[in-house]
């Protein structure tokens, strides 16, 4: 069992390198098997298709990002600093793994269900982190009392609006070009500052 898990980890690592460098579309299962001197049959035993392997790789990165976001924001001195960290760190991850996120170029509007539910989980964990940022700000008396989870959702949606606006929503692929990220981050930071100021306790 442990041996199986190790093998799986090795495969995911090798796949991550390929996907991150060449993207999903330009990576074949054969190449990944060759990288590890593995038979294709054995590779397919662990991952029945490219999407399931890709999904495992993405899952790893998302939980890595989640734990880094949690650590970073927990150390922040106040809610403004925490939100700034959150936005920066998230963007860093997206930039670093940009090639890995090219699935939209292949799947178009039909996201495989496996990936869809993974992104849903990722979003939920981001809302949870924003919620904890707001909670901490309320506890310290920095922010006014509000429904922290609902407010975190609202902030997520507002931040998402910036992304959608920079993208042309009526065109595919539905994913920002690398150059657009800086603009998105700057505008999200501005919005974050206004939003948190809008929640501030007025003495």
């Amino acid at each position: 069992m442990e041996n199986q898990d190790k093998k799986k980890e090795l495969i995911i690592d090798a796949a991550l390198k390929r996907f991150a460098h060449f993207g999903l579309s330009k990576t074949t299962m054969t190449e990944i098997a060759n990288d590890l001197s593995l038979s294709k049959a054995l590779l397919y035993y662990y991952f029945p298709d490219k999407i399931s392997l890709y999904s495992a790789v993405l899952g790893n990165i998302i939980s890595l990002m989640d734990s880094e976001l949690k650590k970073g924001t927990a150390r922040a001195a106040n809610s403004h600093e925490a939100l700034g960290l959150f936005l920066n760190k998230r963007q860093e991850f997206i930039s670093k793994y940009y090639n890995l996120l090219d699935f939209t170029k292949i799947t178009g509007s039909d996201l495989p269900e496996e990936l869809g539910s993974m992104f849903k989980k990722a979003k939920q964990s981001e809302v949870a982190i924003l919620t904890s940022i707001l909670n901490k700000g309320m506890e310290s008396g920095e922010l006014d009392t509000c429904d922290p989870q609902e407010t975190a959702m609202l902030l997520m949606e507002a931040l998402g609006g910036i992304v959608f606006n920079v993208l042309k929503v009526h065109t595919r692929p539905f994913f920002p070009e690398k150059e657009q990220f800086d603009m998105i981050l700057k505008r999200q930071q501005k919005l974050g500052i206004i939003f948190l100021k809008g929640l501030k306790k007025l003495n």
Copy 2:
């Protein structure tokens, strides 16, 4: 010339009634010609195809909405009231002319250029109204100085994020169901209140 304009107005009025009741897809040019006892040749003389007629109808509604929004927000006592009015009035129009906005169901992701540029203009005029709301708030000392146009854009994008989130962006048609509008409006109002409070002058 004047006679021509009158005829055009009559056609647009008749088309508006049909489109608003049956939607774009279920309305034919023949029906509109019949409503006015007009020959189809004459109708096509004024509007070479259904999209151009539809676009004229939409243009009329957009300028009506624009002037009502301008009047309403100009009368408001402060920026909060003005933004509330803006959001409500906009929603009212969308609800009233909901059937008219079903073009996404037909055109899918390929919006005809004519309509695309019309929506761009509509959006610009909405940003202009939000800018004037912020400007007035700054003049009265209610809001802190900021770049009003840039801040208005940011608010527009944030408000748009709420719509995108309620919709499932990966599905078509890319337009909210009637029932979703209430939820959108309520969340936009909450966001608007936080946003304006975030711009408030702190004494």
